[in-house]
């Protein structure tokens, strides 16, 4: 191997000093001859004969020089470079073809790389922690279709204490922390972590220390409550002060000591989170006050649990061990026998799965849409390749004579194929480079589309879609695959067959063999089929999105703005707090353009929900979606009020409990009867509520599901001491001034609360459909591209083929063929291909759309209108693309055409 390597390196070196090497070779040979001549002279050969004698002894100098040059030449590489420059010349000569080739390929590669880097960021990239392969994510199997990943505190604390298979078991919960700033509290994104969290993730702090099990106790360690902050927060909040360790942060009005700073690369265990503050889990009653997830025991499912395996323990062993402890942990956790019986019915048990990539709910949400998108991108790339292959093949056919001539004078077929492949490789490389350059932009935009303010994720959720080695590897793979796909078939085709025939046939009119060429047609037909599949998918997704939009939500979202106030850490509570809300409402309603103002606890369709069980007297309990709302809520939201009245500020705790039911709920509790004025009972609290109104149904949890039975209670009677409500403002005109108005109102009336946040109802609706919207947008874009690419392919190949038949057509016309006949002849050539492709594509689309069925709302995957429309779109495009060459053929002047050769 070593000599071969040596040889390779020397040859590469010689490439760059070719001229000097040649000179040196000549000099070396010249030196030898000079010495030789001297010797011959010494031996007494007459001066006149010395040259001849020297040549006899030495041999032909030129020949030896050439031998030396050959020795040093880098044959393959030099040929390759020559092929490349030849191809570059050819491509420059047909800029139209080159532009189309590069654009379509760049599009395919760019889209693929972009989606792949999203998939990479969300699904593949490992957490930046040492020995990630030892990490596990724990889940619970309860017999349902989906495993659960949200644990309650008792389960976690029992598991945390066991170290038989796991070195560390940790839990975390992303949270929003109210940190005291200069004037008011600020909302900072953080995470509550258990004692073994940092130990399990094995990342050393930048400064100070990380949190340990001693910190994860009620009240903190002996030294008090501690937090660790991120490097980013250290920068933004403490201006990178070197003495940050030991300083105080007032979180939820309680002082915490900063004990450490984590480096930038550390992001915790959720790849979509960038927590600024890491606080101990046990501080939840302080941080989330007045809520308390820890004392809620088996009623609060709020923790994500991970673990690090003991060295030498496999995932199977860990699972076996978890299985055996599941029963005891369940019994330890709760005294509620009905809960335990329920869980045991579902064969409740814990399980572990590999956790090197961390855990994020976004993965569960977006895995399938991403994979579906990846499929579409793959389709568009394949389409681009097919298109280029058929264009190159058409061009190869035009070059048949040149290639045949070269074959005839001794070029090997391999050499010609290599040369044709160099061309496709050049296209592929340039296309890939262009695509790769555009990919970060595209994937950034896609990531923004995916996670845009999606409130089920956190507000500063980030997805790292940066290009890494894996993405580059993927792009390189695409480039090579597409080069081979584009180039190999046309190259084989162009160099096949009998040299003699090719040379003779060349440009001639006599080309019966062209009819028999099935391969180019097959390529074009599959291109049409693939385009149809893409168009049908896009049609289905877009139809579904439109239907989803039109399905209505039961209220009028246009012009409604939600302003969220965080009231849980300020002083006022109960009726005093309600008076504050009333003042805020009055302040807001005086803003320009504001028509009406109310309040709600839960913003519908923002992925939060609250349920309650209610029954009519003697009836069975029913589960309702619940909300707590303010006066004039239904008017503000434009939810129809069928009977009764809105809540009033006077509906306080002392004035008797009130409830408003929606139509479905009223029908469920009082079938066929009047609901107004009746009493319903909250099953859990055994308290009675008077029904004061019946209102229209609205969608609450999910856009896709029909409206569920729901109940509304007045915010004034909310059980929470300090409810954080959102103002619902219906505003006419610009909404932006409202944000600053709300800020100044809050600063005046409730100076300690964080800045209120403003979201429009339109945003909420858009976010609740983000996956659908993204898929539909992409699909439509891809379908447009597919149509364009197919049109180019159909046009290009037909134009080439027709140009080569100029002679034949001229003869036909000279013999009396009519122009319309000629036109039809050319046109039909493509029409047949398009028809065959559409047929095959329709069948393929019927299969492919089944995959999409789960993404569709109110749309059958075999929706006849979509199918029909897609075929029609493709037919029109194909006809337009074929008509141009046909028209051109019909305009051929017979005399000119025959003289052409």
């Amino acid at each position: 191997m070593a000599p071969a390597l040596h040889q390779f390196l020397l040859r590469v070196k010689s490439l760059f000093r070719r001229r000097r090497m040649g000179r040196e070779m000549a000099e070396e040979l010249e030196f030898h001859q000079a010495m030789l001549r001297q010797r011959l002279l010494r031996q007494g050969i007459p001066a006149a004969e010395v040259d001849m004698a020297a040549t006899r002894a030495f041999g032909n100098v030129t020949r030896w020089h050439e031998r030396l040059c050959e020795l040093w030449q880098f044959r393959t590489l030099e040929n390759f470079l020559r092929d490349l420059s030849f191809s570059a010349r050819l491509l420059r000569k047909s800029p139209g073809f080159t532009a189309v080739a590069l654009l379509t390929l760049a599009l395919g590669v760019g889209a693929n790389t972009a989606v792949f880097s999203l998939i990479n960021g969300l699904l593949l990239r490992p957490l930046p922690v040492p020995h990630g392969e030892e990490l596990a994510v724990l889940r619970m199997e309860e017999g349902g279709s989906q495993p659960r990943y949200d644990f309650c505190t008792p389960f976690f604390r029992s598991l945390e204490a066991r170290h038989d298979v796991f070195a560390d078991v940790f839990a975390y919960n992303p949270d929003t922390l109210q940190v005291q700033g200069r004037s008011a509290n600020e909302n900072i994104h953080g995470v509550l972590v258990s004692g073994q969290f940092f130990r399990a993730l094995q990342t050393a702090p930048l400064l100070g220390r990380y949190l340990t099990p001693e910190d994860d106790r009620r009240g903190g360690s002996a030294a008090g409550l501690a937090v660790v902050i991120s490097e980013h927060f250290w920068e933004s909040w403490f201006n990178r002060a070197p003495d940050v360790v030991g300083r105080k942060l007032v979180i939820a009005n309680v002082p915490f000591t900063v004990v450490g700073v984590m480096p930038k690369r550390f992001i915790g265990a959720d790849p979509t989170e960038r927590p600024q503050i890491f606080a101990p889990l046990s501080a939840d009653p302080i941080i989330d006050a007045p809520r308390n997830h820890i004392d809620d025991g088996t009623h609060a499912w709020w923790l994500t649990v991970g673990a690090r395996l003991q060295p030498g323990i496999t995932m199977a062993q860990a699972n076996a061990s978890l299985f055996t402890v599941s029963g005891p942990v369940l019994h330890e956790a709760s005294d509620d026998s009905s809960f335990i019986v329920d869980e045991e019915k579902g064969h409740f048990h814990f399980a572990a799965e590999p956790g090197s990539r961390g855990f994020t709910y976004a993965r569960l949400l977006f895995r399938r849409p991403l994979v579906a998108m990846f499929g579409m991108c793959g389709g568009i790339l394949l389409l681009a390749c097919l298109n280029l292959a058929s264009l190159l093949m058409a061009r190869g056919a035009a070059r048949e004579r040149e290639l045949a001539t070269r074959l005839a004078i001794g070029a090997t077929r391999g050499r010609l194929i290599r040369q044709l492949l160099a061309e496709s490789m050049l296209i592929a490389t340039m296309g890939t480079a262009a695509g790769l350059a555009a990919a970060p932009l595209v994937s950034g935009a896609l990531a923004a589309l995916l996670t845009s303010g999606n409130s089920s994720l956190h507000f500063d959720t980030l997805l790292d879609t940066s290009l890494d080695l894996r993405v580059f590897g993927f792009a390189a793979l695409i480039a090579v695959a597409s080069a081979v796909l584009i180039g190999l078939v046309p190259a084989l085709q162009a160099t096949a067959g009998n040299v003699n025939d090719h040379i003779k046939d060349g440009q001639h009119a006599r080309q019966p063999y062209e009819r028999r060429k099935i391969l180019p047609r097959l390529l074009l037909a599959s291109e049409v089929a693939l385009a149809l599949v893409l168009v049908v998918s896009a049609g289905l997704l877009a139809t579904s999105l439109v239907r989803l939009f039109k399905s209505g939500v039961g209220f009028d979202p246009r012009g409604v703005v939600n302003i969220a106030f965080s009231m849980d850490k300020q002083q006022l509570e109960g009726d005093a707090l309600m008076r504050l809300y009333q003042q805020l409402g009055e302040g807001l309603s005086q803003q320009p353009g504001v028509k009406s103002v109310s309040f709600q606890f839960i913003v519908p369709l923002a992925h939060l929900h609250w349920t309650g069980r209610y029954s009519a007297r003697g009836g069975s309990p029913e589960i309702f979606d619940m909300n707590s709302v303010g006066p004039n809520y239904f008017g503000t939201m434009r939810i129809p009020l069928f009977q009764g009245r809105e809540f009033r500020w006077s509906d306080t705790k002392t004035s008797g409990l009130k409830i408003i039911l929606n139509q479905s709920a009223a029908k469920l509790l009082f079938p066929g009867e009047e609901a107004l004025g009746r009493l319903v009972t909250n099953v859990q609290e055994q308290s009675s509520y008077e029904v004061v109104a019946v209102v229209g149904d609205t969608k609450y949890r999910d856009m896709r599901a029909p409206a569920a039975p729901a109940g509304y209670v007045p915010m004034m009677q909310d059980e929470q001491k300090k409810p954080s409500l959102s103002a619902v403002v219906r505003v006419d005109g610009p909404q932006a001034p409202l944000a600053s108005a709300a800020r100044s109102l809050a600063a005046r009336l409730a100076p300690s609360i964080p800045e209120p946040t403003l979201t429009t109802m339109d945003e909420v609706l858009n976010n609740s459909m983000s996956a659908e919207r993204m898929m539909a947008l992409l699909a439509v874009f891809f379908a447009g591209c597919a149509l364009l690419v197919t049109a180019i392919g159909l046009y290009g190949t037909l134009a080439y083929a027709t140009a080569r038949r100029t002679n034949e057509i001229g003869i036909r016309m000279a013999l009396g063929a009519q122009r319309t006949r000629v036109m039809a002849m050319v046109f039909w050539e493509n029409a047949l291909v398009a028809a065959a492709g559409s047929g095959a594509g329709l069948v393929a689309a019927l299969f492919a759309s089944r995959v999409l069925a789960s993404f569709l709302y109110g749309t059958s995957p075999r929706d006849p209108w979509v199918l029909l429309g897609s075929v029609a779109a493709l037919t029109i495009i194909a006809s337009a693309a074929s008509l141009l060459p046909a028209l051109r053929a019909a305009r051929i002047e017979p005399m000119a055409a025959i003289r052409y050769e």
């Binding site: 070593a2 030196f31 002894a57 030396l68």
Partner: protein, 112 residues
Amino acid sequence: MLREENAGELIQGTLEMLILKALARGPLHGYAVVEWIQQTSQQVLKVEEGALYPALHRLELRGLLQAEWGASENNRRAKFYQLTTEGRKRLNAESLRWARLSAAVAFVMQAS
């Protein structure tokens, strides 16, 4: 094949071995290599002298020789070749192989 003038023609590959041997005592330029071979073989072994150069360059490419430009004995610029460690190893191996081969051929030829 056994014509008189071809008596000194070299078997393929042998030339390379002879070059390595010639360079065993130190760096030489091409002409000196030829001279040494001819003298040492008492003018029996004759090569078309130009044929030496492809062989030299092949050996250089394979890393058995190292070349350097220097001044010749009559003060002209000349390319001097020198054995590399790799080349010395090869020379030893080739010598051994040649000794075995020629002894075996001698045995066969002396058999009655």
